[in-house]
Each structure stands twice: as structure tokens, then as C-alpha cells.
Symmetry: C2
Subunit: 338 residues, 2 copies
DNA sequence: AATAATTTTGGGAGCGCTCCCAATTGTTCA
DNA sequence: TGAACAATTGGGAGCGCTCCCAAAATTATT
């Protein structure tokens, strides 16, 4: 039988209330009591019963994490793993637990029912569902506080953290243009996801701003996967692009194989810029120029926002858009073409 | 304010107890009462408070999932994602929730304290920690029922599901030998993890059984990662192996790049067999011969075992070792050498 | 028709905590 | 020194459920 508050109280000679205050780091406890009680808690490895606390306080200290990867994406797109790591880390530090929901494993109705009826959740972090997924409306109705990772709707009152996808893509493509490339293609992610949309948007903006016509044949869908990148690149090769902005490093790896299999050189025949800066990208041959975004940090910020939301129900909160950074390596070439 | 049991009781004219029985589908309730109460529950969208239920019953319907990937492994090794998917799916179907713990995000002590004293967990699924990690002893002490994915200890009373790693590795290497290869190298995973150990074990057994001497220079550690596979392969190239058994597909991808970068052909110069059969492996050039293991199913079985354990505290339960299958594609070559 | 057996229902006790207010102790200042 | 105040401590009430046993209603049995 695990120890209870009452047990610790008895052992320490203080009351249940005082012990509770120590555990919850409330003030109004003498230094002497705090030290004595802490010691006994430590010695007996006491941990409060979360169910009891949840019942008494109406708060569970549990956040739900909802992500919607396809069956293979979870592995092939590093986004999910980094996000999970950021969220679990921040939650652990802040004494929250994380409940995981992989939404593709359930029907949408089931998922919503499970989540909204789950009276045990204090809040929700939701990511990578489809743009303007109607699920969000149901979650709003359920009154559970939530934060999105990746802006999901133009509705600014839905709280979110995001990377500045379009601006970063813009910079990448702009950099190609500065280097003198003209026929710039892109391999995009699915456009029903915000990252896919925004990165494509940035690509188009950069071309438009430099008066380069957008050629639909130079835009291929790669689904954020390695294989998608490979076959998208195969198709693009028919139109002989000089440079390709690939909207994720994972797709870029597929694209690199396609280029090599076609007997072409990077960056001499085709220059490449990726997106994500996953660990492998620095070690590719050639090393991949890419955009670094701190996904783990996004997860951490989402947790912080959620905690803030819960404790400041009526105050406003700013959505956060993190900058991303273009990391120049060899795959994009260096010499200016005239 | 959400409705409580008592509210539903009052509205229906029955007692708290009877309403509770209806909700928990217990018998001993008249058809009349059941119908009347069900209707009122439905109308008012009543959902029991899980914290209260947990406190009163001592059961939470929550399982903890503990995995210990390094910061990059979570992404680079498909094992984790597939396992998560299997576990979350099976739990959702069985009306359990999944609490996620990425153990590398916390110190070992913290993790153990959080888990073992987390009175809210009904059971634990633990995977990919180090072989004979002392953490397991603490979890045994804590009396929380748990199941390991991947055998972690020779102690048979620790319940586990696993793939037959050593046998499958044996088959792979044996297949090389049947094809006539003699200088067979291997790239291993970390040997403090069971999958790493067992696959290496199978490699050695196959050589031994065919009277081929084990050459330590033909064994390189690849840490189950793409980059690890690349540099392990680079080193192996110095000793000119004819064939390499790579203990994971992810490492095999790195190895393939290393071979190609050295200007060699697969399988003509070097034959390759991987392990895992991740989706990309069929699409590599050349398509990768590999061993298919159903990780998702392991996750599902772990959940089933755990549920069985909880409801049959004293009964014995068989550990399960799933077979794996050698999938022959082009990377291992086909022609018999003389 | 009376009793026994069975089905159905009701309500007290208690799970381990938080919240709140009252009681106690300690400190300050005239 | 004693009153006024602040800091600290203690314990009752209650969160919403399950568990258990007793009471009531219903049915079966002689």
C-alpha cells in the first residue's frame, strides 16, 4: 500500500494540511516544518495520489497530446518525434503527465468522444490535423482549453505556436534567386496541412516578388515522405529545374536519390534546399542546405501557453510564431551564375 | 457544472447505486430501470468523472508507455513509432488511455519516482531500455503490473513480447552462406539493447554453425541510426566484406550511401540484408532484402497481456515470441557463387 | 396463504486529496 | 507586560465515485 498524505502527516508529527502545503509549494509554512516534512517525503518516496488530487481540486495535471500522422508519417517525418519530445519534456518539468492520442488510430467521432468526455484532462495540445478540421469546433464547444502546434485556422482566437513557414520558404527561394537560379522548382507537402500550404506560399511569393513566372509543372507534391520526395523529383527531372526547394529534409533525401539515380550531380546539375534541419541533413553528401526550425521548442512553448491559459482564464494571450533559420551548406551551390 | 451520478439519480428517481450499475453495465438491474436511466444519461450527456472513479475503485483505465529513445532515435528508428501506434490503437479499442513517458527526458530517479508512485496507472508497457536495466527491479518492487516489449532479462517471470531476433538474424546470415558468400560482415545495434544483442548473436551462431571463423574486424557498431550505419560501413569497406548483415533498415540506408559513395555496386560488389522491413526498404535501389517484424502487433499483444495480467493476478501467462520473416529482394544478390 | 428464495434497490462508508476557516503559536510595539 | 497583529498549524467538509451490506419488492415453493 502506498503512503498517503495522512501517513506522512502522522510520521512527521504535522497535520495533513501542512504536509499538503509543503507538497504544493505553498507558502505559510515554517522553514522548520518544510525541511522536516520534505525529508520524510523523500525518505518514503511519497507521491500524491493523482486521482484523489484530481477529484478534490478539479485539476488532473494531465494534458492530452493529439497528433494525426498517417501510419508511416510518424516515422518518416521527424516533426512528430521532436514535438513529442518537447511536449513530454516540458510537461515532466512542470509536473504534468501526457496522455497520447494518435488520431489516425481511431475514427474521428470516437476520438472526439474520447477526448471531450474525458473529464480527466486539464488541457489539450493538438497538432498536424488538417487545415480547418471541423474537429476543432467540437473541441471549442467542449470548453477544454487547448493550444495548436501549427496554426490551423485564420481564427486568431484559437491559440497556437508555429514556425514562420512561409517567410522561411520565401528566404530559401530568394536565396536561390540571389545565386542566379531561374528555373526553380519545389516539392511540397500535402496542402491540407498548414506547413505544406505555407511553405508553398512562401515559394510562390518569392518567385512573384522577383517577377519569375510560376510554372505549375515545377510544383510537385511529395507528401512529406522520403518516397514521395523521390517520385516527385523523378517527375520534376523531365522539366529540368536548376534548383529545387524541397519542403522537408525527409523528402529531400528521396529527391537526392532520384537525382543521383538519374546520374546528375548536386549542386552542379541541380541545387537543393530542404526544410527542418534533421540531424542527418548535415551528413548527407553533399551536406544539405536547409531551414532549421526548433520543433522541440514549439512543443515546450505549447505547454507553457496551455499552463498560462488555465491559470489565467480571462486574460488574453499572444500567439507565438517562431523564426526559422536558413542553414547554408553545399547542396544549394555557391557560385553566382551570371 | 457537469452532471454527477447523484444528479442523474435524482432526475431518474432511482438511487446513485442503481445508476452506477447501469453505467458500468453490471447486472442486477431491472429492464425498466435500465432503460429509464439510460435515457436520462443520454439526454444529459452524462459522463462519469474519471478522477472520482479512479479514487474510489483504485483503477484508472490508464496504461503508461515507457520508451527510452535517444533524442534522435525516436525519429531515426521506426521501432518507436510503430510501437506507439500499436499500443495506442489497442488501448483505444479496449477503452484504456495511454500515458507517455519518454524516459530520456528525465533523470532515471525522477522517472522511476513518477512512474512507480503514480497511483493513477493501472499498468505499464516498457520498451527498449537497456538490457537488465536496474529500473526494472524498482518497478517490480512497486508492484505495478507491467509487460516488456523486447525481452529485457533472462528472468522468465518478467512478462514480455518479443520478435525472434536471434533466429531471424541467423536465417539472414545463413541465407548469405547458402548464396555462397564467405566474408560476411555485420553492422550491429548497441549491444546493451536486447535487439542489438540478439541479432548479433544470430549472426555469430550462423557463422559458427557453418564453420566460418568470426572476424571481429567484420563486426561494426552502428547504433541503429542512419549515420551510424554510414560510418560503420565506411570502416568495414577496409576489410572488403562480400556481404553485410545490417541489423536495421535505417542503418542499411546509411550503409548503402557509404557503398555508393565508395563507387561500389549493390549487390555485385557487396550484398546487403537489413532488418525491420520499414516501408522505404522496398523502394530503395536496389530494393533491400530484409527481415519483417510486426512491431505494431507486438504493441497490441503487450496491451492484451497487460489486461490479462490485471484481471488474473495469480494465473500464469506465457511470454510471446513472434516469428519474423526474411523478405528477399535484390540487395542480397541471387546467383550462387561457386 | 405463508414462507423461502431471488431479484432489485438504497444508502452508508470511504478512497486521498484540497479548500477553507478556526485555533494556536510567535512577534511586535506601546 | 499585555494587547494587537502576523505567521503557522490543524481539522472538518466535501469532491463524485465504487463497494458492500441491508432493506424492499418480487417471484417461486410448499
Amino acid at each position: 500500500m502506498p503512503f498517503t498524505l495522512e501517513d506522512i502527516a502522522k510520521i512527521s508529527g504535522y497535520s495533513r494540511s501542512t504536509v499538503s502545503r509543503v507538497i504544493n509549494k505553498e507558502n505559510g509554512v515554517s522553514e522548520k516544518a518544510r525541511i522536516a516534512i520534505s525529508k520524510i517525503i523523500e525518505e518514503n518516496d511519497y507521491q500524491p495520489n493523482l486521482a484523489a488530487r484530481g477529484l478534490a481540486s478539479g485539476k488532473s495535471k494531465i494534458f492530452g497530446l493529439v497528433i494525426s500522422p498517417g501510419i508511416n508519417d510518424l516515422f518518416s517525418d521527424s516533426f512528430y518525434s521532436l514535438l513529442m519530445q518537447g511536449v513530454t519534456k516540458a510537461c515532466a518539468e512542470k509536473d504534468y503527465s501526457v496522455m497520447l492520442w494518435l488520431s489516425k488510430m481511431l475514427s474521428k467521432e470516437e476520438l472526439i468522444a474520447k477526448i471531450t468526455n474525458n473529464s480527466i484532462l486539464d488541457g489539450l495540445i493538438i497538432s498536424s490535423i488538417e487545415y480547418q478540421d471541423p474537429m476543432i469546433d467540437e473541441i471549442i464547444n467542449s470548453k477544454i482549453p487547448f493550444v495548436m502546434v501549427g496554426q490551423n485556422s485564420p481564427n486568431k482566437s484559437i491559440h497556437f505556436v508555429d514556425t514562420n513557414n512561409s517567410k522561411s520558404a520565401f528566404q530559401a527561394v530568394n536565396y536561390f534567386i540571389e545565386l542566379g537560379y531561374k528555373r526553380i522548382a519545389t516539392i511540397t507537402g500535402p496542402t491540407n496541412k498548414i506547413a505544406g500550404r505555407d511553405r508553398l506560399e512562401g515559394y510562390k511569393m518569392a518567385l512573384a516578388q522577383n517577377n519569375i513566372e510560376i510554372d505549375p509543372r515545377l510544383i510537385e507534391l511529395g507528401y512529406f515522405s522520403d518516397l514521395g520526395g523521390y517520385s516527385a523529383m523523378e517527375k520534376l527531372l523531365d522539366y529540368q529545374p536548376e534548383a529545387v526547394f524541397v519542403a522537408s529534409d525527409t523528402m529531400a533525401f528521396g529527391a537526392i536519390r532520384a537525382i543521383k539515380d538519374a546520374g546528375l550531380q548536386i549542386p552542379d546539375d541541380i541545387a537543393l534546399i530542404g526544410f527542418d534541419n534533421i540531424p542527418t541533413s548535415a551528413e548527407m553528401s553533399p551536406p544539405l542546405t536547409t531551414i532549421h526550425q526548433d520543433i522541440q521548442k514549439m512543443g515546450e512553448i505549447a505547454v507553457d501557453m496551455l499552463i498560462y491559459l488555465i491559470s489565467n482564464k480571462n486574460k488574453e494571450i499572444e500567439n507565438i510564431i517562431l523564426p526559422a533559420e536558413l542553414i547554408i551548406r553545399e547542396s544549394c551551390g555557391t557560385k553566382l551564375k551570371e
